[in-house]
Symmetry: C2
């Protein structure tokens, strides 16, 4: 229901689903599903190769697309969003890199694409820790780390930032996120790819 965007605006994993989500995330199916998604993405990227003028771009979300917050959500049993606790977790800079997405990142870079990391994380509070976390997790050589510096909803902020990239001349060949709000709105990209996330919903 979440992956097809039928279930919207949910605030926490419903109690009867907690065991299911725990098992899905912890026992391998999640990792296999992310790998299936990155296989699809790599296949699509190879069909539309970068032109060589340095303007073919991919946009990747960060939280639970490049970096995993699973340790945090496991510890809190997949409860509702808690901005203070999440900020404390994220500021430690210890989110594991999601292995298939690290590989995809290097595949895209190897294919000559510019890679932009676009996140709703607060730039002032989490900018330094996020940059350090990305580096530690294997994401090096991205073109720009774009974090939220204004109070806007995810769709509005990300649409505006993608529009800015397009106005700079970049062609957004693909856009990858774990939330539908990463993938909707303006200048979404030639194709969008959703990676699974049954843990939380960002409107």
């Amino acid at each position: 229901m979440v992956e097809a965007n039928n279930a919207k605006f949910w605030r926490a994993v419903p109690a009867p689903c907690v065991g299911y989500v725990w098992a899905y995330m912890s026992w391998g199916q999640y990792g296999r599903d992310v790998s299936s998604a990155t296989d699809q993405i790599a296949a699509y990227a190879s069909q539309t190769p970068a032109a060589g003028d340095g303007l073919d771009a991919w946009v990747l979300d960060i939280d639970d697309t490049c970096l995993s917050n699973l340790p945090y959500y496991q510890a809190k049993q997949f409860g509702a969003y808690d901005p203070t606790a999440f900020k404390a977790w994220a500021s430690r800079g210890t989110c594991p890199g999601i292995p298939a997405m690290v590989r995809l990142f290097w595949t895209l870079k190897g294919g000559g694409f510019r890679v932009f990391l676009l996140s709703g994380r607060d730039e002032e509070a989490l900018g330094a820790s996020t940059a350090a976390n990305l580096a530690a997790a294997g994401f090096a050589g991205y073109d720009r780390l774009i974090l939220r510096y204004v109070r806007l909803s995810s769709v509005v902020f990300k649409s505006a930032e993608r529009r800015r990239l397009v106005e700079e001349g970049y062609r957004i060949r693909g856009n990858v996120g774990d939330q539908w709000s990463d993938l909707q709105g303006d200048c979404a990209g030639d194709r969008v790819f959703k990676v699974p996330n049954p843990m939380y919903f960002v409107p």
Copy 2:
């Protein structure tokens, strides 16, 4: 991958997935997932009740949304689309109604919504058998059965027909389909709901 619209333009269920799709469709999980979707839909519809002026509408797709083609695809082992064989199957008018969707149909009608059935089935070849099949399956009292009468892609045809409804004054409160192409394009509806279909892809 299919439900999140990551996998596009596939022509047949890949061989390693045939057993999985068969089990998913045949052993209950499909029916439970459709029921979960219709629970979501009914909950949403009850939150945005019909105004009483007869202009609040829902659009439902037919194939593998209201009527099931599972017997046909099981018999052919989920192979690639075969227009002649499919037409022969559909013209028999024996597609089972999908139980949760029959219930949803009556719930929507009971809530005062107009229900439009919008399908890419060919009107000339399949109009009579489709109307009879719908009646036999329990779908009675829909407002209009709109079948394809021009050669257009699914998204273009369905967008044009939905636009026509909007121009007639209807407010499309929701739109339900098993294909993303049912749910994208113009006048898609205030909310769209995707029911699962791992059997085939309509671009």
